[in-house]
Protein backbone atom coordinates (compact mmCIF):
# COMPACT_ATOMS: atom_id res chain seq x y z
CA UNK A 1 0.00 0.00 0.00
CA UNK A 2 1.65 3.15 -1.20
CA UNK A 3 0.23 6.43 -2.45
CA UNK A 4 1.31 7.93 -5.73
CA UNK A 5 4.12 10.44 -5.52
CA UNK A 6 1.90 12.84 -7.43
CA UNK A 7 -0.17 13.37 -4.29
CA UNK A 8 2.67 15.25 -2.65
CA UNK A 9 3.22 17.40 -5.75
CA UNK A 10 -0.45 18.19 -6.14
CA UNK A 11 -0.84 19.20 -2.51
CA UNK A 12 2.16 21.51 -2.61
CA UNK A 13 0.86 23.06 -5.82
CA UNK A 14 -2.58 23.69 -4.35
CA UNK A 15 -1.06 25.26 -1.25
CA UNK A 16 1.13 27.68 -3.17
CA UNK A 17 -1.68 28.48 -5.59
CA UNK A 18 -3.89 29.42 -2.67
CA UNK A 19 -1.76 32.50 -2.10
CA UNK A 20 -3.05 35.08 -4.59
CA UNK A 21 -5.65 33.71 -6.95
CA UNK A 22 -5.28 36.53 -9.43
CA UNK A 23 -3.51 35.10 -12.42
CA UNK A 24 -2.97 31.54 -13.63
CA UNK A 25 0.39 29.81 -13.31
CA UNK A 26 1.75 27.53 -16.06
CA UNK A 27 2.82 23.98 -15.30
CA UNK A 28 6.39 24.58 -16.39
CA UNK A 29 6.73 27.32 -13.79
CA UNK A 30 5.38 25.13 -10.99
CA UNK A 31 7.64 22.30 -12.06
CA UNK A 32 10.64 24.59 -11.97
CA UNK A 33 9.68 25.82 -8.51
CA UNK A 34 9.76 22.31 -7.10
CA UNK A 35 12.38 20.90 -9.49
CA UNK A 36 10.17 18.06 -10.76
CA UNK A 37 9.32 16.68 -14.19
CA UNK A 38 7.12 19.26 -15.99
CA UNK A 39 5.27 16.78 -18.18
CA UNK A 40 4.53 14.40 -15.35
CA UNK A 41 3.35 17.18 -13.09
CA UNK A 42 1.07 18.26 -15.95
CA UNK A 43 -0.55 14.85 -15.88
CA UNK A 44 -1.44 15.17 -12.23
CA UNK A 45 -2.72 18.72 -12.57
CA UNK A 46 -4.99 17.47 -15.34
CA UNK A 47 -6.47 15.08 -12.80
CA UNK A 48 -7.10 17.96 -10.44
CA UNK A 49 -8.74 19.91 -13.27
CA UNK A 50 -10.90 16.91 -14.16
CA UNK A 51 -12.26 16.92 -10.62
CA UNK A 52 -12.92 20.66 -10.75
CA UNK A 53 -10.41 21.64 -8.09
CA UNK A 54 -8.40 23.82 -10.45
CA UNK A 55 -9.23 25.28 -13.84
CA UNK A 56 -7.03 25.65 -16.88
CA UNK A 57 -6.56 28.82 -18.90
CA UNK A 58 -5.17 28.15 -22.35
CA UNK A 59 -3.13 30.36 -24.60
CA UNK A 60 -0.47 32.88 -23.79
CA UNK A 61 -0.31 33.92 -20.12
CA UNK A 62 -2.41 30.88 -19.39
CA UNK A 63 -1.94 28.20 -16.73
CA UNK A 64 -3.83 26.83 -13.74
CA UNK A 65 -5.59 28.47 -10.85
CA UNK A 66 -7.87 27.32 -8.06
CA UNK A 67 -11.57 27.31 -8.83
CA UNK A 68 -12.73 28.02 -5.30
CA UNK A 69 -11.47 29.31 -1.99
CA UNK A 70 -8.74 27.40 -0.19
CA UNK A 71 -11.08 26.95 2.77
CA UNK A 72 -13.48 24.89 0.68
CA UNK A 73 -10.83 22.50 -0.70
CA UNK A 74 -9.88 19.67 1.64
CA UNK A 75 -6.77 17.55 1.53
CA UNK A 76 -9.06 14.60 0.86
CA UNK A 77 -10.33 16.29 -2.30
CA UNK A 78 -6.80 16.45 -3.68
CA UNK A 79 -5.92 12.90 -2.68
CA UNK A 80 -9.08 11.54 -4.27
CA UNK A 81 -8.46 13.49 -7.46
CA UNK A 82 -5.04 11.87 -7.84
CA UNK A 83 -5.68 8.40 -6.45
CA UNK A 84 -9.26 7.90 -7.53
CA UNK A 85 -12.34 7.00 -5.54
CA UNK A 86 -11.62 3.27 -5.21
CA UNK A 87 -11.31 1.79 -1.74
CA UNK A 88 -7.90 0.48 -0.67
CA UNK A 89 -9.36 -2.77 0.60
CA UNK A 90 -11.54 -4.70 -1.82
CA UNK A 91 -13.60 -7.58 -0.42
CA UNK A 92 -13.76 -10.47 -2.88
CA UNK A 93 -16.34 -12.30 -0.80
CA UNK A 94 -14.27 -15.41 -0.30
CA UNK A 95 -16.73 -16.39 2.42
CA UNK A 96 -19.07 -17.35 -0.42
CA UNK A 97 -16.51 -19.64 -2.03
CA UNK A 98 -15.22 -23.10 -1.33
CA UNK A 99 -16.83 -26.14 0.30
CA UNK A 100 -17.99 -24.21 3.39
CA UNK A 101 -19.34 -21.25 1.44
CA UNK A 102 -21.96 -19.10 3.13
CA UNK A 103 -25.31 -18.87 1.44
CA UNK A 104 -25.89 -15.74 -0.62
CA UNK A 105 -28.96 -14.76 1.36
CA UNK A 106 -26.85 -14.73 4.55
CA UNK A 107 -24.42 -12.24 3.02
CA UNK A 108 -26.58 -9.17 2.64
CA UNK A 109 -24.46 -7.33 5.19
CA UNK A 110 -20.78 -6.79 4.40
CA UNK A 111 -18.53 -9.44 5.93
CA UNK A 112 -16.98 -8.72 9.33
CA UNK A 113 -13.47 -8.27 7.98
CA UNK A 114 -14.58 -5.86 5.27
CA UNK A 115 -16.45 -3.78 7.82
CA UNK A 116 -13.33 -3.33 9.92
CA UNK A 117 -11.27 -2.30 6.92
CA UNK A 118 -13.94 0.07 5.66
CA UNK A 119 -14.26 1.73 9.06
CA UNK A 120 -10.50 2.25 9.19
CA UNK A 121 -10.48 3.83 5.75
CA UNK A 122 -13.32 6.08 6.80
CA UNK A 123 -11.24 7.23 9.76
CA UNK A 124 -8.40 7.98 7.36
CA UNK A 125 -10.66 9.89 5.00
CA UNK A 126 -12.20 11.78 7.87
CA UNK A 127 -8.80 12.96 9.07
CA UNK A 128 -7.97 14.22 5.59
CA UNK A 129 -11.37 15.82 5.19
CA UNK A 130 -10.95 17.84 8.38
CA UNK A 131 -7.97 19.74 7.00
CA UNK A 132 -8.38 22.33 4.25
CA UNK A 133 -5.73 23.72 1.94
CA UNK A 134 -6.12 26.96 3.84
CA UNK A 135 -5.26 25.18 7.09
CA UNK A 136 -2.14 23.73 5.53
CA UNK A 137 -1.08 27.09 4.12
CA UNK A 138 -1.51 28.72 7.52
CA UNK A 139 0.58 25.98 9.08
CA UNK A 140 3.33 26.48 6.52
CA UNK A 141 3.36 30.17 7.39
CA UNK A 142 3.66 29.25 11.04
CA UNK A 143 6.51 26.78 10.51
CA UNK A 144 8.53 28.20 7.62
CA UNK A 145 8.04 31.86 8.47
CA UNK A 146 5.31 34.26 7.53
CA UNK A 147 6.69 35.36 4.17
CA UNK A 148 7.86 32.04 2.75
CA UNK A 149 4.70 31.13 0.83
CA UNK A 150 4.13 34.65 -0.41
CA UNK A 151 7.72 34.77 -1.62
CA UNK A 152 7.23 31.55 -3.57
CA UNK A 153 4.02 32.89 -5.06
CA UNK A 154 5.78 36.06 -6.14
CA UNK A 155 8.50 34.01 -7.78
CA UNK A 156 5.83 32.16 -9.75
CA UNK A 157 4.37 35.43 -10.99
CA UNK A 158 7.76 36.86 -12.02
CA UNK A 159 8.94 36.59 -15.61
CA UNK A 160 10.37 33.12 -16.19
CA UNK A 161 14.07 32.39 -16.66
CA UNK A 162 15.42 35.90 -16.25
CA UNK A 163 17.94 35.10 -13.59
CA UNK A 164 18.78 31.74 -15.12
Amino acid sequence: MRLSGGVEWALHCCVVLSRGVEEPVPVARLAELYDVSPTYLAKHLQSLAADGLIESVRGKRGGYRLTRSAESITVLDVVRAIEGDGAAFVCTEIRQRGPCAAAAEDCQRACSIARVMIAAEEAWRSALRDVSIRDVADDVDRVAGKGALTRMRSWLAAAPSIGA
Copy 2:
Protein backbone atom coordinates in the same frame (compact mmCIF):
# COMPACT_ATOMS: atom_id res chain seq x y z
CA MET B 1 -3.52 3.32 -3.26
CA ARG B 2 -4.66 -0.26 -3.01
CA LEU B 3 -3.92 -2.99 -0.50
CA SER B 4 -2.70 -6.39 -1.56
CA GLY B 5 -5.38 -9.01 -2.02
CA GLY B 6 -3.38 -11.21 0.32
CA VAL B 7 -4.55 -9.11 3.26
CA GLU B 8 -8.06 -10.45 2.89
CA TRP B 9 -6.85 -14.03 2.65
CA ALA B 10 -4.54 -13.70 5.64
CA LEU B 11 -7.25 -12.18 7.82
CA HIS B 12 -9.74 -14.91 6.98
CA CYS B 13 -7.11 -17.55 7.69
CA CYS B 14 -6.24 -16.06 11.07
CA VAL B 15 -9.92 -15.88 12.02
CA VAL B 16 -10.62 -19.50 11.16
CA LEU B 17 -7.39 -20.62 12.80
CA SER B 18 -8.45 -18.90 16.02
CA ARG B 19 -11.12 -21.55 16.52
CA GLY B 20 -9.35 -24.51 18.09
CA VAL B 21 -5.60 -24.09 18.34
CA GLU B 22 -4.93 -27.78 18.84
CA GLU B 23 -3.37 -29.01 15.64
CA PRO B 24 -1.73 -27.22 12.70
CA VAL B 25 -3.48 -26.81 9.35
CA PRO B 26 -1.60 -27.18 6.04
CA VAL B 27 -1.72 -24.43 3.43
CA ALA B 28 -3.31 -26.67 0.83
CA ARG B 29 -6.25 -27.28 3.14
CA LEU B 30 -6.77 -23.58 3.82
CA ALA B 31 -6.50 -22.82 0.12
CA GLU B 32 -9.13 -25.43 -0.65
CA LEU B 33 -11.43 -24.00 2.02
CA TYR B 34 -11.40 -20.58 0.37
CA ASP B 35 -10.85 -21.77 -3.20
CA VAL B 36 -7.69 -19.71 -3.75
CA SER B 37 -4.25 -20.43 -5.18
CA PRO B 38 -2.39 -22.70 -2.71
CA THR B 39 1.10 -21.56 -3.65
CA TYR B 40 0.23 -17.89 -3.51
CA LEU B 41 -1.52 -18.26 -0.18
CA ALA B 42 1.59 -20.02 1.07
CA LYS B 43 3.61 -16.95 0.23
CA HIS B 44 1.40 -14.75 2.38
CA LEU B 45 1.34 -17.18 5.28
CA GLN B 46 5.11 -17.16 5.17
CA SER B 47 4.95 -13.41 5.75
CA LEU B 48 2.73 -13.97 8.76
CA ALA B 49 5.17 -16.56 10.07
CA ALA B 50 8.10 -14.18 9.54
CA ASP B 51 6.36 -11.66 11.80
CA GLY B 52 5.70 -14.30 14.44
CA LEU B 53 1.91 -14.25 14.17
CA ILE B 54 1.71 -17.89 13.17
CA GLU B 55 4.21 -20.72 13.43
CA SER B 56 4.96 -23.47 10.97
CA VAL B 57 5.15 -27.16 11.76
CA ARG B 58 7.00 -29.12 9.13
CA GLY B 59 6.71 -32.73 8.16
CA LYS B 60 3.70 -34.98 8.01
CA ARG B 61 0.62 -33.66 9.83
CA GLY B 62 2.32 -30.26 9.80
CA GLY B 63 0.94 -26.89 8.84
CA TYR B 64 0.33 -23.51 10.46
CA ARG B 65 -1.20 -22.49 13.76
CA LEU B 66 -1.45 -19.26 15.74
CA THR B 67 1.39 -18.53 18.13
CA ARG B 68 -0.68 -16.60 20.62
CA SER B 69 -4.26 -16.03 21.66
CA ALA B 70 -6.64 -14.39 19.20
CA GLU B 71 -7.21 -11.57 21.67
CA SER B 72 -3.57 -10.52 21.45
CA ILE B 73 -3.45 -10.39 17.63
CA THR B 74 -4.82 -7.22 16.10
CA VAL B 75 -5.99 -6.68 12.57
CA LEU B 76 -3.19 -4.17 12.21
CA ASP B 77 -0.65 -6.89 13.02
CA VAL B 78 -1.88 -8.94 10.07
CA VAL B 79 -2.01 -5.99 7.69
CA ARG B 80 1.51 -4.93 8.60
CA ALA B 81 2.82 -8.45 8.17
CA ILE B 82 1.50 -8.56 4.60
CA GLU B 83 1.97 -4.97 3.50
CA GLY B 84 5.13 -4.12 5.41
CA ASP B 85 5.86 -1.27 7.79
CA GLY B 86 6.37 1.42 5.17
CA ALA B 87 4.14 4.49 5.30
CA ALA B 88 1.68 4.99 2.45
CA PHE B 89 2.70 8.62 2.01
CA VAL B 90 6.39 9.28 1.57
CA CYS B 91 7.56 12.89 1.86
CA THR B 92 10.35 13.64 -0.60
CA GLU B 93 11.02 17.05 0.95
CA ILE B 94 10.38 18.99 -2.21
CA ARG B 95 10.21 22.09 -0.04
CA GLN B 96 14.01 21.87 0.07
CA ARG B 97 14.34 21.80 -3.70
CA GLY B 98 14.13 24.38 -6.44
CA PRO B 99 14.91 28.11 -6.47
CA CYS B 100 12.79 28.87 -3.40
CA ALA B 101 14.09 25.94 -1.36
CA ALA B 102 13.78 26.17 2.39
CA ALA B 103 17.00 26.05 4.36
CA ALA B 104 17.84 22.68 5.89
CA GLU B 105 17.98 24.10 9.42
CA ASP B 106 14.39 25.32 9.03
CA CYS B 107 13.19 21.79 8.20
CA GLN B 108 13.82 19.97 11.43
CA ARG B 109 10.09 19.44 11.89
CA ALA B 110 8.24 17.42 9.26
CA CYS B 111 6.58 19.58 6.63
CA SER B 112 2.95 20.58 7.12
CA ILE B 113 1.63 18.35 4.37
CA ALA B 114 3.50 15.31 5.63
CA ARG B 115 2.15 15.87 9.13
CA VAL B 116 -1.42 15.80 7.88
CA MET B 117 -0.86 12.60 5.93
CA ILE B 118 0.97 10.95 8.82
CA ALA B 119 -1.82 11.86 11.24
CA ALA B 120 -4.41 10.36 8.88
CA GLU B 121 -2.43 7.14 8.58
CA GLU B 122 -2.15 6.99 12.35
CA ALA B 123 -5.94 7.26 12.59
CA TRP B 124 -6.20 4.38 10.12
CA ARG B 125 -3.72 2.28 12.05
CA SER B 126 -5.43 3.06 15.30
CA ALA B 127 -8.76 1.83 13.98
CA LEU B 128 -7.14 -1.43 12.89
CA ARG B 129 -5.27 -1.78 16.17
CA ASP B 130 -8.47 -1.52 18.18
CA VAL B 131 -9.89 -4.70 16.67
CA SER B 132 -8.47 -8.11 17.52
CA ILE B 133 -8.86 -11.35 15.61
CA ARG B 134 -11.02 -12.51 18.50
CA ASP B 135 -13.35 -9.55 17.98
CA VAL B 136 -13.67 -10.38 14.30
CA ALA B 137 -14.37 -14.04 15.02
CA ASP B 138 -17.07 -13.12 17.52
CA ASP B 139 -18.63 -10.82 14.94
CA VAL B 140 -18.60 -13.57 12.34
CA ASP B 141 -20.41 -15.83 14.81
CA ARG B 142 -22.97 -13.09 15.36
CA VAL B 143 -23.55 -12.47 11.65
CA ALA B 144 -23.15 -15.86 10.00
CA GLY B 145 -24.61 -17.91 12.82
CA LYS B 146 -22.99 -19.39 15.92
CA GLY B 147 -21.76 -22.61 14.35
CA ALA B 148 -20.40 -21.38 11.03
CA LEU B 149 -16.80 -20.83 12.08
CA THR B 150 -16.66 -24.00 14.15
CA ARG B 151 -18.00 -25.94 11.19
CA MET B 152 -15.28 -24.55 8.94
CA ARG B 153 -12.65 -25.40 11.53
CA SER B 154 -13.94 -28.96 11.74
CA TRP B 155 -13.79 -29.27 7.97
CA LEU B 156 -10.14 -28.19 8.11
CA ALA B 157 -9.37 -30.90 10.66
CA ALA B 158 -11.13 -33.64 8.70
CA ALA B 159 -9.14 -35.94 6.43
CA PRO B 160 -8.55 -34.18 3.11
CA SER B 161 -10.25 -35.13 -0.14
CA ILE B 162 -12.53 -37.85 1.16
CA GLY B 163 -15.74 -36.45 -0.22
CA ALA B 164 -14.06 -35.19 -3.37
